[in-house]
Protein backbone atom coordinates (compact mmCIF):
# COMPACT_ATOMS: atom_id res chain seq x y z
CA UNK A 1 0.00 0.00 0.00
CA UNK A 2 2.95 2.33 0.42
CA UNK A 3 3.96 2.14 -3.23
CA UNK A 4 3.28 5.30 -5.20
CA UNK A 5 0.39 5.51 -7.63
CA UNK A 6 1.14 5.77 -11.34
CA UNK A 7 0.29 9.48 -11.35
CA UNK A 8 3.35 10.49 -9.35
CA UNK A 9 5.27 12.82 -11.62
CA UNK A 10 8.50 13.26 -9.73
CA UNK A 11 10.97 10.42 -9.69
CA UNK A 12 12.33 9.72 -6.25
CA UNK A 13 15.57 7.81 -5.95
CA UNK A 14 14.85 4.92 -3.63
CA UNK A 15 17.75 5.60 -1.27
CA UNK A 16 16.88 9.21 -0.33
CA UNK A 17 14.99 9.83 2.87
CA UNK A 18 11.25 10.46 2.62
CA UNK A 19 10.10 14.09 2.62
CA UNK A 20 8.04 13.34 5.69
CA UNK A 21 7.99 10.26 7.88
CA UNK A 22 5.55 9.80 10.70
CA UNK A 23 6.31 7.00 13.12
CA UNK A 24 3.62 5.81 15.53
CA UNK A 25 2.23 9.31 15.90
CA UNK A 26 -0.28 9.74 18.70
CA UNK A 27 -2.02 12.74 20.20
CA UNK A 28 -4.45 12.66 23.08
CA UNK A 29 -6.51 15.55 24.40
CA UNK A 30 -7.43 14.50 27.92
CA UNK A 31 -8.97 11.06 27.55
CA UNK A 32 -9.66 11.37 23.84
CA UNK A 33 -7.15 10.11 21.30
CA UNK A 34 -7.41 12.53 18.37
CA UNK A 35 -4.61 10.74 16.54
CA UNK A 36 -4.18 7.10 17.39
CA UNK A 37 -1.05 5.65 15.85
CA UNK A 38 -0.28 7.05 12.39
CA UNK A 39 2.63 5.82 10.25
CA UNK A 40 3.30 7.53 6.96
CA UNK A 41 6.08 8.07 4.43
CA UNK A 42 5.67 10.85 1.89
CA UNK A 43 7.87 11.01 -1.17
CA UNK A 44 9.62 14.16 -2.36
CA UNK A 45 7.37 16.22 -4.66
CA UNK A 46 4.24 14.30 -3.88
CA UNK A 47 0.74 15.80 -3.69
CA UNK A 48 -0.59 14.01 -0.66
CA UNK A 49 -4.09 14.40 0.74
CA UNK A 50 -5.42 13.55 4.15
CA UNK A 51 -9.12 12.97 3.75
CA UNK A 52 -11.65 12.35 6.47
CA UNK A 53 -14.68 13.67 8.33
CA UNK A 54 -14.24 16.37 10.96
CA UNK A 55 -12.74 14.97 14.13
CA UNK A 56 -10.96 12.18 12.28
CA UNK A 57 -7.53 13.50 13.28
CA UNK A 58 -6.31 14.71 9.89
CA UNK A 59 -5.90 18.34 10.96
CA UNK A 60 -4.19 17.31 14.19
CA UNK A 61 -1.63 15.33 12.17
CA UNK A 62 -1.04 18.40 10.00
CA UNK A 63 -0.63 20.62 13.07
CA UNK A 64 1.87 18.19 14.56
CA UNK A 65 3.93 18.24 11.34
CA UNK A 66 3.87 22.07 11.45
CA UNK A 67 4.84 22.03 15.13
CA UNK A 68 1.72 23.68 16.56
CA UNK A 69 0.84 20.57 18.53
CA UNK A 70 3.22 18.36 20.42
CA UNK A 71 2.70 14.65 19.81
CA UNK A 72 1.86 12.55 22.85
CA UNK A 73 3.97 9.78 21.33
CA UNK A 74 5.77 9.02 18.10
CA UNK A 75 8.31 10.79 15.93
CA UNK A 76 8.16 13.23 13.02
CA UNK A 77 11.00 13.19 10.49
CA UNK A 78 11.46 15.76 7.76
CA UNK A 79 13.91 14.65 5.10
CA UNK A 80 15.24 12.06 7.50
CA UNK A 81 15.84 14.54 10.33
CA UNK A 82 13.90 14.14 13.56
CA UNK A 83 12.07 17.43 14.20
CA UNK A 84 9.63 16.21 16.84
CA UNK A 85 11.06 18.50 19.52
CA UNK A 86 11.58 21.53 17.30
CA UNK A 87 9.36 24.62 17.51
CA UNK A 88 7.46 25.69 14.35
CA UNK A 89 9.98 28.41 13.44
CA UNK A 90 12.79 25.86 13.30
CA UNK A 91 11.09 23.57 10.78
CA UNK A 92 11.46 23.95 7.04
CA UNK A 93 7.72 23.73 6.62
CA UNK A 94 5.12 26.34 5.76
CA UNK A 95 1.40 26.28 6.24
CA UNK A 96 -1.60 27.70 4.40
CA UNK A 97 -4.23 28.17 7.08
CA UNK A 98 -7.92 27.51 6.76
CA UNK A 99 -8.74 31.13 7.64
CA UNK A 100 -5.62 32.25 5.69
CA UNK A 101 -4.28 34.03 8.83
CA UNK A 102 -3.08 37.06 6.89
CA UNK A 103 -1.71 39.85 9.06
CA UNK A 104 -4.41 42.53 8.93
CA UNK A 105 -2.08 45.45 9.69
CA UNK A 106 0.30 44.68 6.82
CA UNK A 107 -0.07 45.16 3.09
CA UNK A 108 -0.20 42.15 0.79
CA UNK A 109 3.46 42.61 -0.07
CA UNK A 110 4.48 42.90 3.59
CA UNK A 111 2.53 39.75 4.33
CA UNK A 112 4.37 37.87 1.61
CA UNK A 113 7.73 39.31 2.71
CA UNK A 114 7.17 38.41 6.36
CA UNK A 115 8.94 35.05 6.37
CA UNK A 116 12.00 36.47 4.61
CA UNK A 117 12.00 39.52 6.83
CA UNK A 118 12.08 37.65 10.13
CA UNK A 119 14.87 35.49 8.73
CA UNK A 120 16.90 38.61 8.00
CA UNK A 121 16.90 38.49 4.19
CA UNK A 122 17.95 41.91 2.91
CA UNK A 123 15.33 44.35 1.72
CA UNK A 124 16.05 44.19 -1.97
CA UNK A 125 16.10 40.43 -2.45
CA UNK A 126 13.08 39.90 -0.23
CA UNK A 127 11.14 42.42 -2.31
CA UNK A 128 12.17 40.69 -5.53
CA UNK A 129 11.21 37.29 -4.22
CA UNK A 130 7.89 38.52 -2.81
CA UNK A 131 6.96 40.12 -6.13
CA UNK A 132 7.89 36.88 -7.88
CA UNK A 133 5.71 34.89 -5.51
CA UNK A 134 2.78 37.25 -6.09
CA UNK A 135 3.30 36.77 -9.80
CA UNK A 136 3.22 33.00 -9.35
CA UNK A 137 -0.23 33.23 -7.80
CA UNK A 138 -1.33 35.79 -10.42
CA UNK A 139 -1.63 38.73 -8.05
CA UNK A 140 0.72 41.21 -9.71
CA UNK A 141 -0.21 44.76 -8.77
CA UNK A 142 -1.99 43.80 -5.56
CA UNK A 143 1.04 44.34 -3.33
CA UNK A 144 -0.10 47.62 -1.81
CA UNK A 145 -3.57 46.47 -0.84
CA UNK A 146 -4.63 45.39 2.62
CA UNK A 147 -5.93 41.83 3.09
CA UNK A 148 -9.34 43.29 4.00
CA UNK A 149 -9.58 44.78 0.50
CA UNK A 150 -9.27 41.39 -1.19
CA UNK A 151 -11.83 38.74 -2.08
CA UNK A 152 -11.73 35.29 -0.51
CA UNK A 153 -10.01 33.77 -3.51
CA UNK A 154 -7.38 36.51 -3.60
CA UNK A 155 -6.66 36.14 0.12
CA UNK A 156 -6.20 32.46 -0.47
CA UNK A 157 -3.58 33.23 -3.12
CA UNK A 158 -1.79 35.66 -0.84
CA UNK A 159 -1.62 32.98 1.84
CA UNK A 160 -0.18 30.62 -0.76
CA UNK A 161 2.38 33.17 -1.94
CA UNK A 162 3.36 33.97 1.66
CA UNK A 163 4.11 30.30 2.27
CA UNK A 164 5.80 29.52 -1.06
CA UNK A 165 8.13 32.54 -1.01
CA UNK A 166 10.13 30.78 1.72
CA UNK A 167 10.75 27.84 -0.61
CA UNK A 168 9.89 25.28 2.07
CA UNK A 169 10.58 21.59 1.64
CA UNK A 170 7.02 20.89 2.56
CA UNK A 171 3.81 22.87 2.22
CA UNK A 172 0.92 22.08 4.52
CA UNK A 173 -2.57 23.13 3.44
CA UNK A 174 -5.35 23.01 6.01
CA UNK A 175 -8.64 22.92 4.08
CA UNK A 176 -7.53 26.01 2.18
CA UNK A 177 -10.42 25.96 -0.25
CA UNK A 178 -13.13 25.44 2.35
CA UNK A 179 -14.30 29.05 2.40
CA UNK A 180 -14.55 29.48 -1.38
CA UNK A 181 -17.65 29.00 -3.50
CA UNK A 182 -17.91 25.90 -5.65
CA UNK A 183 -16.86 27.43 -8.97
CA UNK A 184 -13.83 29.23 -7.56
CA UNK A 185 -12.97 26.12 -5.66
CA UNK A 186 -12.85 23.97 -8.78
CA UNK A 187 -10.61 26.56 -10.46
CA UNK A 188 -8.30 26.71 -7.48
CA UNK A 189 -8.06 22.92 -7.34
CA UNK A 190 -6.65 22.76 -10.83
CA UNK A 191 -4.46 25.80 -10.22
CA UNK A 192 -3.03 24.37 -7.02
CA UNK A 193 -2.28 21.11 -8.74
CA UNK A 194 -0.50 22.90 -11.59
CA UNK A 195 1.39 25.08 -9.12
CA UNK A 196 2.53 22.07 -7.16
CA UNK A 197 3.81 20.44 -10.34
CA UNK A 198 5.73 23.62 -11.21
CA UNK A 199 7.39 24.25 -7.86
CA UNK A 200 7.97 20.58 -7.11
CA UNK A 201 7.38 21.01 -3.38
CA UNK A 202 5.72 18.22 -1.40
CA UNK A 203 2.15 19.25 -0.62
CA UNK A 204 0.18 17.84 2.29
CA UNK A 205 -3.43 18.76 1.75
CA UNK A 206 -6.10 18.32 4.40
CA UNK A 207 -9.70 18.15 3.23
CA UNK A 208 -13.05 16.61 4.06
CA UNK A 209 -14.12 16.88 0.41
CA UNK A 210 -13.58 13.54 -1.33
CA UNK A 211 -13.95 15.04 -4.79
CA UNK A 212 -11.24 17.57 -4.01
CA UNK A 213 -8.92 14.84 -2.79
CA UNK A 214 -9.56 12.65 -5.83
CA UNK A 215 -9.02 15.57 -8.24
CA UNK A 216 -5.70 16.76 -6.93
CA UNK A 217 -3.82 14.03 -5.16
CA UNK A 218 -1.12 11.55 -6.08
CA UNK A 219 -2.03 9.61 -2.98
CA UNK A 220 -4.74 9.89 -0.39
CA UNK A 221 -4.87 8.75 3.22
CA UNK A 222 -8.43 8.31 4.45
CA UNK A 223 -8.67 9.09 8.15
CA UNK A 224 -11.26 7.76 10.53
CA UNK A 225 -11.19 7.88 14.32
CA UNK A 226 -7.57 9.02 14.47
CA UNK A 227 -6.27 6.23 12.23
CA UNK A 228 -5.59 5.78 8.54
CA UNK A 229 -8.27 3.52 7.07
CA UNK A 230 -6.71 3.31 3.65
CA UNK A 231 -3.71 4.76 1.87
CA UNK A 232 -3.86 4.61 -1.92
CA UNK A 233 -4.00 6.50 -5.19
CA UNK A 234 -7.33 8.11 -6.16
CA UNK A 235 -8.39 5.40 -8.64
CA UNK A 236 -7.43 2.56 -6.33
CA UNK A 237 -9.26 4.25 -3.46
CA UNK A 238 -12.41 4.71 -5.49
CA UNK A 239 -12.47 1.37 -7.24
CA UNK A 240 -11.19 -0.80 -4.41
CA UNK A 241 -12.15 0.68 -1.06
CA UNK A 242 -10.56 -1.27 1.77
CA UNK A 243 -13.41 -0.80 4.20
CA UNK A 244 -17.08 0.04 4.33
CA UNK A 245 -16.12 3.42 5.78
CA UNK A 246 -13.88 4.25 2.82
CA UNK A 247 -16.51 2.99 0.37
CA UNK A 248 -19.03 5.30 1.99
CA UNK A 249 -16.82 8.32 2.46
CA UNK A 250 -15.21 8.25 -0.97
CA UNK A 251 -18.13 8.27 -3.37
CA UNK A 252 -21.63 7.03 -2.63
CA UNK A 253 -22.06 4.10 -0.38
CA UNK A 254 -23.72 1.22 -2.24
CA UNK A 255 -23.31 -1.73 0.04
CA UNK A 256 -24.59 -5.26 -0.39
CA UNK A 257 -24.15 -7.33 2.69
CA UNK A 258 -25.19 -10.59 4.36
CA UNK A 259 -28.41 -12.12 3.07
CA UNK A 260 -28.88 -9.50 0.36
CA UNK A 261 -25.42 -10.23 -0.99
CA UNK A 262 -26.19 -13.94 -0.88
CA UNK A 263 -29.48 -13.46 -2.78
CA UNK A 264 -28.07 -11.09 -5.42
CA UNK A 265 -24.49 -12.29 -5.84
CA UNK A 266 -24.72 -15.82 -4.58
CA UNK A 267 -22.17 -15.32 -1.79
CA UNK A 268 -22.63 -13.72 1.61
CA UNK A 269 -20.13 -11.03 2.55
CA UNK A 270 -19.70 -7.30 2.14
CA UNK A 271 -19.64 -5.84 -1.36
CA UNK A 272 -19.95 -2.47 -3.01
CA UNK A 273 -20.96 -1.32 -6.51
CA UNK A 274 -20.45 2.28 -7.64
CA UNK A 275 -23.73 3.94 -8.74
CA UNK A 276 -22.47 4.88 -12.23
CA UNK A 277 -21.60 1.23 -13.02
CA UNK A 278 -25.20 0.11 -12.71
CA UNK A 279 -27.61 0.07 -15.63
CA UNK A 280 -31.34 0.30 -15.17
CA UNK A 281 -33.73 -1.68 -17.42
CA UNK A 282 -37.34 -2.71 -17.48
CA UNK A 283 -38.06 -5.68 -15.27
CA UNK A 284 -38.50 -8.16 -18.15
CA UNK A 285 -35.12 -7.38 -19.73
CA UNK A 286 -32.67 -10.23 -19.77
CA UNK A 287 -29.35 -9.96 -18.00
CA UNK A 288 -26.38 -10.81 -20.20
CA UNK A 289 -23.78 -13.41 -19.27
CA UNK A 290 -21.15 -12.25 -16.78
CA UNK A 291 -23.57 -9.75 -15.30
CA UNK A 292 -24.97 -9.36 -11.84
CA UNK A 293 -28.62 -8.52 -11.68
CA UNK A 294 -31.25 -7.54 -9.15
CA UNK A 295 -34.88 -6.46 -9.39
CA UNK A 296 -36.49 -3.68 -7.45
CA UNK A 297 -38.76 -0.64 -7.27
CA UNK A 298 -37.64 2.97 -7.72
CA UNK A 299 -38.19 4.77 -4.42
CA UNK A 300 -36.67 8.20 -5.14
CA UNK A 301 -35.49 10.11 -8.21
CA UNK A 302 -33.15 13.12 -8.05
CA UNK A 303 -32.43 15.12 -11.18
CA UNK A 304 -28.84 16.38 -11.09
CA UNK A 305 -28.57 18.11 -14.47
CA UNK A 306 -25.96 16.01 -16.22
CA UNK A 307 -27.23 12.85 -14.59
CA UNK A 308 -30.18 11.41 -12.75
CA UNK A 309 -29.84 9.56 -9.49
CA UNK A 310 -32.35 6.92 -8.51
CA UNK A 311 -32.70 5.02 -5.26
CA UNK A 312 -33.95 1.51 -5.92
CA UNK A 313 -35.36 -0.73 -3.20
CA UNK A 314 -34.29 -4.28 -4.05
CA UNK A 315 -36.78 -7.11 -3.86
CA UNK A 316 -34.10 -9.06 -1.99
CA UNK A 317 -33.91 -6.28 0.63
CA UNK A 318 -31.66 -3.26 0.97
CA UNK A 319 -31.31 -0.60 -1.66
CA UNK A 320 -28.89 0.59 -4.36
CA UNK A 321 -28.25 4.03 -5.76
CA UNK A 322 -28.09 4.22 -9.56
CA UNK A 323 -26.55 7.11 -11.45
CA UNK A 324 -27.51 7.45 -15.11
CA UNK A 325 -26.15 10.01 -17.55
CA UNK A 326 -28.94 12.07 -19.06
CA UNK A 327 -28.22 11.26 -22.70
CA UNK A 328 -31.84 11.23 -23.88
CA UNK A 329 -34.38 13.83 -22.86
CA UNK A 330 -36.73 11.50 -21.08
CA UNK A 331 -36.28 8.20 -19.43
CA UNK A 332 -39.51 6.45 -18.64
CA UNK A 333 -37.83 4.30 -15.99
CA UNK A 334 -36.74 7.22 -13.86
CA UNK A 335 -39.95 7.79 -11.98
CA UNK A 336 -41.07 6.74 -8.56
CA UNK A 337 -42.68 3.32 -8.31
CA UNK A 338 -41.20 2.00 -11.57
CA UNK A 339 -40.47 -1.71 -11.61
CA UNK A 340 -36.87 -2.12 -12.73
CA UNK A 341 -34.08 -4.57 -13.23
CA UNK A 342 -30.55 -3.46 -12.36
CA UNK A 343 -27.53 -4.99 -14.07
CA UNK A 344 -23.82 -4.43 -13.72
CA UNK A 345 -20.72 -6.29 -14.77
CA UNK A 346 -19.46 -8.85 -12.32
CA UNK A 347 -16.01 -7.29 -12.06
CA UNK A 348 -17.58 -4.05 -10.82
CA UNK A 349 -18.69 -5.80 -7.69
CA UNK A 350 -15.93 -5.10 -5.21
CA UNK A 351 -15.55 -7.14 -2.08
CA UNK A 352 -14.62 -5.03 0.89
CA UNK A 353 -11.80 -6.46 2.93
CA UNK A 354 -12.20 -4.49 6.12
CA UNK A 355 -14.78 -4.81 8.84
CA UNK A 356 -18.26 -3.46 8.27
Amino acid sequence: MTSLGEQVTTQTPPDTAAAVSLRGLRKTFGEVAAVDGVDLDLAEGEFFSMLGPSGSGKTTVLRMIAGFEEPTAGRILLGGVDVTERPPYARDVNTVFQDYALFPHMSVLQNVEYGLRVKGVDRRSRRTRALEALETVRLEGFGDRRPSQLSGGQRQRVALARALVNRPKLLLLDEPLGALDLKLRREMQLELKALQRDVGITFVFVTHDQEEALTMSDRIAVFNGGRIEQLAGPAELYEHPASAFVAGFVGTSNLLEGDVAAAVLGTPGLFTVRPEKIDMHTRDAAAGPGSCTATGVVREVVYLGSATQAVVDLDAGGSLIVLQQNRSVQDQLAHRGAQVRLTWRREHTVEIGGSA
Binding site: G67, F68, P87, P88, Y89, T95, F97, A101, Y114, V118
Partner: protein, 283 residues
Protein backbone atom coordinates in the same frame (compact mmCIF):
# COMPACT_ATOMS: atom_id res chain seq x y z
CA UNK B 1 -52.17 53.72 24.75
CA UNK B 2 -49.85 50.93 23.58
CA UNK B 3 -51.47 50.70 20.16
CA UNK B 4 -51.27 54.44 19.58
CA UNK B 5 -47.56 54.28 20.43
CA UNK B 6 -47.19 51.56 17.82
CA UNK B 7 -48.75 53.80 15.24
CA UNK B 8 -46.50 56.72 16.10
CA UNK B 9 -42.91 55.48 16.10
CA UNK B 10 -41.54 59.01 16.44
CA UNK B 11 -43.49 59.62 19.63
CA UNK B 12 -42.27 56.30 20.97
CA UNK B 13 -38.68 57.14 20.11
CA UNK B 14 -39.06 60.55 21.73
CA UNK B 15 -40.42 59.09 24.96
CA UNK B 16 -37.66 56.50 25.01
CA UNK B 17 -34.71 58.80 24.34
CA UNK B 18 -36.05 62.04 25.81
CA UNK B 19 -35.07 61.58 29.45
CA UNK B 20 -31.50 60.34 28.83
CA UNK B 21 -30.86 63.06 26.24
CA UNK B 22 -32.17 65.63 28.68
CA UNK B 23 -29.84 64.23 31.30
CA UNK B 24 -26.87 64.30 28.94
CA UNK B 25 -27.71 67.77 27.67
CA UNK B 26 -28.51 69.55 30.91
CA UNK B 27 -26.57 67.76 33.60
CA UNK B 28 -23.52 66.97 31.52
CA UNK B 29 -22.94 69.34 28.63
CA UNK B 30 -24.79 72.13 30.44
CA UNK B 31 -22.51 71.82 33.42
CA UNK B 32 -19.48 71.90 31.13
CA UNK B 33 -20.80 75.07 29.49
CA UNK B 34 -21.40 76.61 32.89
CA UNK B 35 -17.79 75.80 33.75
CA UNK B 36 -16.46 77.73 30.77
CA UNK B 37 -18.79 80.65 31.41
CA UNK B 38 -17.74 80.80 35.05
CA UNK B 39 -14.09 80.79 34.04
CA UNK B 40 -14.71 84.03 32.15
CA UNK B 41 -16.10 85.81 35.22
CA UNK B 42 -14.04 87.31 38.01
CA UNK B 43 -14.08 87.65 41.75
CA UNK B 44 -13.97 90.84 43.71
CA UNK B 45 -10.80 90.37 45.69
CA UNK B 46 -12.11 92.49 48.54
CA UNK B 47 -15.63 91.17 49.07
CA UNK B 48 -15.17 87.74 47.46
CA UNK B 49 -18.35 88.22 45.47
CA UNK B 50 -18.42 86.89 41.89
CA UNK B 51 -18.68 89.65 39.33
CA UNK B 52 -20.52 88.57 36.24
CA UNK B 53 -18.57 90.54 33.70
CA UNK B 54 -16.59 88.99 30.87
CA UNK B 55 -12.87 88.95 31.59
CA UNK B 56 -9.83 86.80 30.91
CA UNK B 57 -8.29 87.62 34.32
CA UNK B 58 -8.43 84.05 35.62
CA UNK B 59 -6.67 82.68 32.55
CA UNK B 60 -4.12 85.49 32.71
CA UNK B 61 -3.27 84.54 36.29
CA UNK B 62 -3.12 80.88 35.29
CA UNK B 63 -0.62 81.45 32.51
CA UNK B 64 1.51 84.15 34.15
CA UNK B 65 1.96 82.83 37.68
CA UNK B 66 4.73 80.30 37.45
CA UNK B 67 3.52 77.92 40.14
CA UNK B 68 0.36 77.14 38.15
CA UNK B 69 2.34 76.44 35.00
CA UNK B 70 4.58 74.10 37.00
CA UNK B 71 1.56 72.31 38.48
CA UNK B 72 -0.09 71.94 35.06
CA UNK B 73 3.05 70.47 33.50
CA UNK B 74 3.62 68.25 36.53
CA UNK B 75 0.05 66.91 36.27
CA UNK B 76 0.44 66.14 32.58
CA UNK B 77 3.80 64.51 33.26
CA UNK B 78 2.36 62.34 36.03
CA UNK B 79 -0.55 61.35 33.77
CA UNK B 80 1.83 60.37 30.97
CA UNK B 81 4.06 58.42 33.34
CA UNK B 82 1.12 56.58 34.90
CA UNK B 83 -0.19 55.72 31.43
CA UNK B 84 3.20 54.46 30.30
CA UNK B 85 3.70 52.31 33.42
CA UNK B 86 0.21 50.88 33.10
CA UNK B 87 0.75 50.01 29.44
CA UNK B 88 4.05 48.28 30.17
CA UNK B 89 2.66 46.36 33.16
CA UNK B 90 -0.71 45.54 31.60
CA UNK B 91 0.53 44.13 28.30
CA UNK B 92 2.25 40.97 29.59
CA UNK B 93 -0.60 40.33 32.04
CA UNK B 94 -3.23 40.67 29.31
CA UNK B 95 -1.11 38.59 26.93
CA UNK B 96 -0.76 35.81 29.48
CA UNK B 97 -4.48 35.92 30.29
CA UNK B 98 -5.68 35.80 26.71
CA UNK B 99 -3.15 33.58 24.95
CA UNK B 100 -1.37 31.39 27.49
CA UNK B 101 -3.58 30.71 30.52
CA UNK B 102 -6.03 27.82 30.41
CA UNK B 103 -9.72 28.76 30.62
CA UNK B 104 -9.97 28.13 34.38
CA UNK B 105 -6.93 30.23 35.24
CA UNK B 106 -8.08 32.88 32.77
CA UNK B 107 -11.39 33.32 34.60
CA UNK B 108 -9.56 33.50 37.91
CA UNK B 109 -7.17 36.17 36.62
CA UNK B 110 -10.03 38.17 35.15
CA UNK B 111 -11.75 38.22 38.53
CA UNK B 112 -8.42 39.10 40.17
CA UNK B 113 -8.05 42.09 37.85
CA UNK B 114 -11.63 43.25 38.42
CA UNK B 115 -11.72 42.67 42.18
CA UNK B 116 -9.77 45.82 43.21
CA UNK B 117 -12.38 47.88 41.36
CA UNK B 118 -14.93 46.75 43.95
CA UNK B 119 -12.83 48.07 46.83
CA UNK B 120 -13.02 51.69 47.90
CA UNK B 121 -10.62 54.14 46.31
CA UNK B 122 -9.68 55.52 49.74
CA UNK B 123 -8.92 52.12 51.17
CA UNK B 124 -6.51 51.40 48.30
CA UNK B 125 -4.86 54.82 48.51
CA UNK B 126 -4.39 54.52 52.27
CA UNK B 127 -3.01 51.02 51.79
CA UNK B 128 -0.26 52.53 49.66
CA UNK B 129 0.24 55.25 52.25
CA UNK B 130 0.89 52.52 54.77
CA UNK B 131 3.39 50.87 52.46
CA UNK B 132 5.28 54.07 51.69
CA UNK B 133 5.25 55.24 55.32
CA UNK B 134 8.26 54.94 57.59
CA UNK B 135 8.63 51.23 58.45
CA UNK B 136 6.13 50.29 55.75
CA UNK B 137 6.63 47.53 53.19
CA UNK B 138 8.16 49.75 50.50
CA UNK B 139 10.59 51.57 52.79
CA UNK B 140 11.73 48.38 54.52
CA UNK B 141 12.29 46.74 51.13
CA UNK B 142 14.39 49.69 49.99
CA UNK B 143 16.34 49.67 53.22
CA UNK B 144 16.96 45.95 52.92
CA UNK B 145 18.97 46.57 49.75
CA UNK B 146 20.64 49.68 51.22
CA UNK B 147 18.57 52.31 49.43
CA UNK B 148 16.66 55.24 50.75
CA UNK B 149 12.90 54.87 50.56
CA UNK B 150 11.23 57.34 48.20
CA UNK B 151 8.74 58.14 50.97
CA UNK B 152 5.74 60.34 50.22
CA UNK B 153 6.06 62.37 47.07
CA UNK B 154 5.57 62.25 43.33
CA UNK B 155 7.05 58.75 43.03
CA UNK B 156 4.53 57.41 45.52
CA UNK B 157 1.76 59.30 43.72
CA UNK B 158 2.71 57.82 40.35
CA UNK B 159 2.94 54.30 41.80
CA UNK B 160 -0.40 54.61 43.59
CA UNK B 161 -2.22 56.03 40.57
CA UNK B 162 -0.67 53.44 38.25
CA UNK B 163 -1.96 50.77 40.64
CA UNK B 164 -5.42 52.33 40.85
CA UNK B 165 -5.98 52.59 37.10
CA UNK B 166 -4.23 49.38 36.01
CA UNK B 167 -7.48 47.42 35.43
CA UNK B 168 -8.64 50.10 33.00
CA UNK B 169 -5.56 49.34 30.90
CA UNK B 170 -5.58 45.54 31.26
CA UNK B 171 -9.19 45.08 30.19
CA UNK B 172 -9.06 46.85 26.78
CA UNK B 173 -5.76 45.14 25.94
CA UNK B 174 -7.18 41.79 27.00
CA UNK B 175 -10.24 42.39 24.83
CA UNK B 176 -8.01 43.42 21.93
CA UNK B 177 -5.91 40.27 22.26
CA UNK B 178 -9.03 38.14 22.47
CA UNK B 179 -9.96 39.44 19.04
CA UNK B 180 -6.52 38.50 17.69
CA UNK B 181 -6.90 35.02 16.14
CA UNK B 182 -4.45 32.41 17.41
CA UNK B 183 -3.82 31.44 13.80
CA UNK B 184 -1.98 34.76 13.28
CA UNK B 185 0.50 33.80 16.00
CA UNK B 186 0.85 30.33 14.52
CA UNK B 187 1.34 31.81 11.06
CA UNK B 188 4.09 34.05 12.40
CA UNK B 189 5.90 31.14 14.04
CA UNK B 190 5.32 29.02 10.96
CA UNK B 191 7.00 31.67 8.81
CA UNK B 192 10.08 31.54 11.01
CA UNK B 193 9.50 34.22 13.64
CA UNK B 194 10.63 33.54 17.20
CA UNK B 195 8.37 34.69 20.03
CA UNK B 196 9.93 38.16 20.54
CA UNK B 197 9.62 38.83 16.80
CA UNK B 198 6.01 37.70 16.83
CA UNK B 199 5.27 40.03 19.74
CA UNK B 200 6.95 42.96 18.05
CA UNK B 201 5.67 42.48 14.51
CA UNK B 202 2.26 40.90 14.96
CA UNK B 203 0.90 41.24 18.49
CA UNK B 204 1.94 44.80 19.36
CA UNK B 205 0.73 46.45 16.13
CA UNK B 206 -2.63 44.76 16.47
CA UNK B 207 -2.86 45.66 20.18
CA UNK B 208 -1.77 49.30 19.97
CA UNK B 209 -5.31 50.62 19.34
CA UNK B 210 -6.50 48.74 22.43
CA UNK B 211 -3.59 50.19 24.41
CA UNK B 212 -4.48 53.69 23.30
CA UNK B 213 -8.08 53.04 24.30
CA UNK B 214 -6.86 52.04 27.77
CA UNK B 215 -4.61 55.08 27.93
CA UNK B 216 -7.64 57.34 27.51
CA UNK B 217 -8.85 56.04 30.86
CA UNK B 218 -5.54 56.08 32.70
CA UNK B 219 -4.59 59.48 31.32
CA UNK B 220 -7.89 61.27 31.99
CA UNK B 221 -8.41 59.69 35.41
CA UNK B 222 -4.93 60.85 36.47
CA UNK B 223 -5.47 64.35 35.10
CA UNK B 224 -8.49 64.80 37.34
CA UNK B 225 -7.19 63.11 40.46
CA UNK B 226 -6.53 65.09 43.64
CA UNK B 227 -7.04 62.55 46.42
CA UNK B 228 -4.14 60.14 45.87
CA UNK B 229 -1.64 62.98 45.80
CA UNK B 230 -3.10 64.26 49.09
CA UNK B 231 -2.65 60.86 50.69
CA UNK B 232 0.76 59.76 49.36
CA UNK B 233 2.08 62.85 47.55
CA UNK B 234 3.53 64.77 50.47
CA UNK B 235 3.39 68.49 49.75
CA UNK B 236 3.04 68.07 46.00
CA UNK B 237 0.01 69.49 44.26
CA UNK B 238 -1.72 68.51 41.06
CA UNK B 239 -4.28 70.51 39.09
CA UNK B 240 -7.12 68.83 40.98
CA UNK B 241 -5.78 70.21 44.26
CA UNK B 242 -5.70 73.75 42.88
CA UNK B 243 -9.32 73.39 41.77
CA UNK B 244 -10.29 71.92 45.11
CA UNK B 245 -8.59 74.68 47.13
CA UNK B 246 -10.08 77.44 45.04
CA UNK B 247 -13.59 76.04 45.28
CA UNK B 248 -13.23 75.45 49.01
CA UNK B 249 -10.80 77.56 51.00
CA UNK B 250 -10.28 80.46 48.60
CA UNK B 251 -13.86 80.43 47.31
CA UNK B 252 -12.61 81.71 43.95
CA UNK B 253 -14.98 79.85 41.65
CA UNK B 254 -13.94 81.62 38.41
CA UNK B 255 -10.29 80.72 38.95
CA UNK B 256 -11.17 77.10 39.86
CA UNK B 257 -13.17 76.90 36.65
CA UNK B 258 -10.27 78.28 34.64
CA UNK B 259 -7.93 75.67 36.13
CA UNK B 260 -10.48 72.92 35.43
CA UNK B 261 -10.55 73.78 31.73
CA UNK B 262 -6.88 72.73 31.40
CA UNK B 263 -7.53 68.95 31.75
CA UNK B 264 -10.56 69.29 29.49
CA UNK B 265 -8.51 70.96 26.76
CA UNK B 266 -5.60 68.53 27.19
CA UNK B 267 -8.02 65.61 27.00
CA UNK B 268 -9.67 66.97 23.85
CA UNK B 269 -6.24 67.31 22.27
CA UNK B 270 -5.35 63.79 23.37
CA UNK B 271 -8.57 62.35 21.97
CA UNK B 272 -8.04 64.17 18.67
CA UNK B 273 -4.55 62.70 18.49
CA UNK B 274 -5.56 59.11 19.28
CA UNK B 275 -8.55 59.18 16.96
CA UNK B 276 -6.12 58.61 14.11
CA UNK B 277 -4.90 55.32 15.60
CA UNK B 278 -8.38 53.78 15.42
CA UNK B 279 -8.52 53.53 19.20
CA UNK B 280 -12.06 54.87 19.29
CA UNK B 281 -13.24 51.67 17.60
CA UNK B 282 -11.59 49.65 20.39
CA UNK B 283 -13.48 51.32 23.24
Amino acid sequence: MMSSLHRHPRVRLGLLLGPPILWLGVAYLGALAALFVTALWSQNSFTGVIEREWTLDSFRTLFTVEVYRTIALRTIGVALLVTLIDAVVAFPIALYMSKVARPGLRRFLLVAVLMPLWASYLVKAYAWRGMFAEGGLVSSMFEAVGLKSPGFGLTATVVTLAYLWLPYMILPIYAGLERLPDSLLEASADLGAKTPQTIRRVILPVVVPAMVAGSIFTFSLTLGDYIAVRIVGGTNQLLGNVVYDNVGAANNLPFAAAVATIPVVVMLGYLAAVRRTGAMESL
